[in-house]
Symmetry: C2
Subunit: 580 residues, 2 copies
């Protein structure tokens, strides 16, 4: 299933670069450590894969970290995993799009200055496409993934073959880093390792989307998971190896993959195929977040931890709110970080590893609970336990080595989000408690209400409004606020000629305020006749052209706003459609 793999596979496009970017701080010589670090990450990748393979079998109906952690560890760990995942879906969009556009600007350096605009365009297209309900129809969407796999594998094969045959010239000597070099400490190596761990993002996508597989789903999903891991690790190791033998150092304006492709293919058509495939697979990876983020927020909305609106599908059967919010936040991130992948990476991955840890720990509890039914429970628990411990160690490494680079934001944000989730749920619970009633006990009796109609003049719109008010109640009071006393006198005279049977009160307004005298008048009514609801009926002009709205209704709008928050007051805007 190419669709779910795109997220995990695409991260090899930037993982090697992140290792080298950390190591180069200690000088070009330190870059030789890139290969051992890459091997460590490959090992980690397989550990996590085997751990997740078990989740696929245990949760054939889809086991996202939120569900697994909530089921087995409890509410708070579940919400923590949910918060971590929401943050990481946003970052996936920002990182993947930035990195995809970096593949474009590496090939066409003239576009480098426009990278933020290009990133925003890509996000906009993703939002529009997903709002229109693009189905993840495997066929079309799998092409970029297969193209990417093929082009990277071919590049690696050709590169290694040329190296073996001695025909691979080293890349142009990189300029040594400026400024003072950092000492090559264990901390720096760990930071390189943490950066490279971004290769593991997306591994969980298969266990989330398990229901999209053919029967037997678990078996097929598990198989796909292993294939995907083997492919990802071999692509990643190949890239890291070629970067090593070509002596490539990270550059500001060209990605490491682009440098390798240049080294292997020169400026031929194959180079451009690699770049195009990289760009496409990264945009596709961002697209998976546009399915995952709205789905998770709809589950959280359904459970009452996010506004209920997230749980409602729009008319096109997509979760429009989640899509728009994901697009907006990731666009802000892209602008803030100037579309630079490596500036976003320190925030990334930490949330992924937290949710890995919670999910795998949850699986350990899951097996422990099934210890009487499942004779192999201990083997399962040990595999998931290993996964949990390893990912927890990586989580700590991520947090410590990247803390000052930006990871602190995520460390602060996750508990904050959990608090927000809980507050929302507490509010909904309290409201539901207040609103609960036994239908058999509550009688619906009409309330006594008085209708107040503010009158600005004597004309057809007022006549229509009064006619409508008549149909609501027999107790109608017309009022005119005398902002202009001469005008008020004219209205009084005309009113007397008008046989409405409705009394008109002229309210003096010494300070020319429209609202104050009216509010006082309504106060007066409500004090005299307790428990009465006052319905204020206001004429509203609906003109035929949008700009004409600016010419009408400002007073009506202001009055409506002011009255809206008064208890026992209902405002009714009666539309009057203008012919002009």
């Amino acid at each position: 299933m190419a669709v779910f793999s795109s997220d995990a596979l695409s991260s090899v496009a930037y993982a090697t670069e992140e290792i080298l970017r950390a190591l180069v701080l200690a000088g070009l010589g330190a870059l030789t450590l890139g290969l051992p670090v890459a091997f460590a990450i490959a090992l980690l990748f397989f550990t996590v894969t085997f751990s997740y393979r078990q989740t696929v079998f245990a949760y054939p109906s889809g086991g996202g970290s939120y569900i697994v952690a909530k089921d087995n560890l409890g509410l708070i760990p579940g919400l923590t995993a949910g918060a971590a995942l929401l943050i990481d879906y946003i970052l996936t969009v920002a990182v993947s799009v930035s990195s995809g556009i970096a593949a474009v600007t590496s090939a066409v350096p003239a576009l480098y200055g426009h990278r933020v605009a290009l990133c925003l365009l890509a996000v906009l297209l993703l939002v529009i496409g997903n709002l229109r309900g693009v189905r993840e129809s495997g066929n079309i969407f799998s092409i970029p993934t297969y193209l990417f796999i093929a082009s990277i594998l071919v590049m690696n094969a050709v590169g290694i073959a040329r190296w073996v045959l001695g025909g691979l010239p080293p890349a142009p000597a990189p300029s040594p880093p400026t400024g003072t070099l950092a000492p090559l400490t264990a901390f720096l190596v760990l930071r390189a390792f943490a950066g490279g761990c971004s290769a593991l993002t997306g591994v969980e996508a298969i266990s989330n989307g398990i229901q999209a597989f053919y029967e037997p789903v678990s078996k097929n999903a598990a198989k796909t998971l292993v294939y995907m891991a083997v492919l990802a690790v071999s692509m990643f190791l190949g890239i890291s190896f070629l970067a090593h033998v070509l002596g490539i150092a990270p550059r500001e304006t060209e990605t490491v993959v682009s440098q390798i492709a240049h080294g292997v293919f020169g400026n031929s058509i194959f180079y451009y195929i690699v770049q195009a495939a990289t760009m496409l697979v990264l945009v596709l990876a961002a697209n998976t977040s546009f399915a995952d983020f709205p789905r998770l927020s709809s589950i959280l909305g359904r459970d009452g931890f996010l506004p209920r609106q997230f749980a409602n599908r729009g008319d096109r059967l997509v979760f429009s709110n989640g899509i728009v919010i994901l697009g907006l936040i990731s666009a802000v991130l892209i602008v803030y970080f100037g579309g630079q992948t490596h500036s976003l990476i320190p925030l990334y991955a930490i949330g992924v590893f937290l949710s890995f840890t919670l999910s795998q720990s949850g699986m350990v509890v899951h097996w422990w609970r099934r210890r009487h039914e499942d004779p192999k429970w201990l083997t399962h628990a040990v595999i998931n336990g290993t996964g949990a411990v390893v990912t927890f160690v990586v989580f700590v490494i991520e947090g410590v080595t990247k803390f000052t680079l930006g990871a602190w934001v995520v460390v602060v944000l996750i508990p904050l989000l959990v608090v927000v989730f809980l507050s929302i749920r507490r509010h909904y619970d309290a409201v539901a408690e207040d609103l609960r009633m036994d239908p058999a006990e509550v009688k619906v009796k009409p309330v006594r209400h008085i209708v107040v109609v503010p009158i600005a003049g004597i004309h057809r719109a007022v006549a229509a409004t009064l006619a409508y008010a008549r149909s609501l109640s027999d107790d109608i009071r017309a009022v005119h606020v005398a902002v202009n006393p001469e005008e008020a006198e004219k209205i009084r005279t005309k009113w007397e000629k008008w046989d409405t049977g409705i009394p008109l009160t002229i309210l003096p307004s010494p300070y020319r305020s429209l609202t104050r005298p009216l509010l006082d008048y309504i106060d007066g009514i409500q004090q005299k006749e307790k428990a009465a609801v006052v319905t204020v009926v206001i004429a509203e002009f609906l003109p035929r052209r949008w700009w004409q709205f600016l010419l009408h209704n400002q007073s009506a709008l202001w009055l409506t706003t002011i009255l809206h928050f008064r208890p026992n007051t209902v405002v009714v805007n009666v539309p009057y459609h203008l012919k002009h």
Copy 2:
């Protein structure tokens, strides 16, 4: 009256600089022409002053260009003058504030980089001050004007005295302008003249604000006008003369006045007094626009050429709409032009001279009409005629020499605004015609209406909403849109237990849309029972904290918006105050 003079007097702070900025394009040698150009402007100043002196006598109740031109020349010239003035009030704020902040950044060069922020801060303070209804209490506001007059006159006197005594060292030799020099053509001299004509802006302020003078108003206002002209011209000529003898060329980061003050006073306290007084008087000049712009737009609003809302005073007796709009547009201009006075100047003054011309031509017609009553009419007419001809010539010079520098914007904008004024008036007239009725002929009969109550669940808020709906009508229909069929079944069961006497219709929603089935249902009702108004009563939750709004009502809001534009449909939001 220091308040009204601040606008006219303050323009001497940048007028000389604008002359020199044009001349320096032809090289440093061309700067010697600054003095003759300044004398021509001084002559123009007196011509305009004497022309306006007559307006003051003829319109003792205040003769703004809009009123004078409309009364004597007709509607279109009146609106043209009105448009020109509105634009110039906006530019006065932008130019005066930019120039005032330039006085600050000349004295404290470290602030130069923050000049846009400082300008916006000044505009914000002016908006807030005027919204709170700062009275133009002469005493406080006259201090900066007197301080400015005194400091400039002292600077000129000391400077000239030192020059006569031979003790005035020339300013540091200015660096010659880079790039190719323009030839010193008559066109360039006229452009310098046009730039310097910004000195005349603000002359009309006294005839606008005439009612603020003591009795006999016309005599006092005329006297003030002449004093003001003498002061302004002598300050302007003094500055131009000192700029000449000091050999000063305009600089990017220091104003000409600041350079002169440095030359005369060195870095002493007197230098800083000149700069502070300049800044204060310019901010005060911007403040006069905050009185003039809202006043003119309220007159235009009262006459139906701008939205009527402009004519309404707020609760603090200020025209809040005009103040806010003036602040916003001038802030946009300041940001767009980077807070640079000389970039704004090409747009400025052209509108002023157009309104001068229209106002003085109007006065000529005024005297012609009074030719049988007033024996001196010819003298008056000749003076105003001279004013009209001279200001028209300057208007043409302004338009031609600054056209490509930005004046074209104003040339396009003024007729456009006149068209907008006329369209607004035409709309209001058409609406008034439609709405007109004879009270004796129109009967207010209640309309037959049907109340529809959408039900999201069975709870207390719905009970309250139904009770309210009961009080509106006996014909109530409860509906539930079955977005979730299981939920709908539960509601049906509960409803049957509930003794409301109101029928419940469950609307199927195969596409999970909330609005579509409801709209179809209302269509159905309206087709069956023609001429009936449908009132849709929707419960609205009012929580206690603002952020909780995000957790409720999105569906209600969406429904309200959709229904709002349907004919014969009234939406009533019944507030339900939550305890949590």
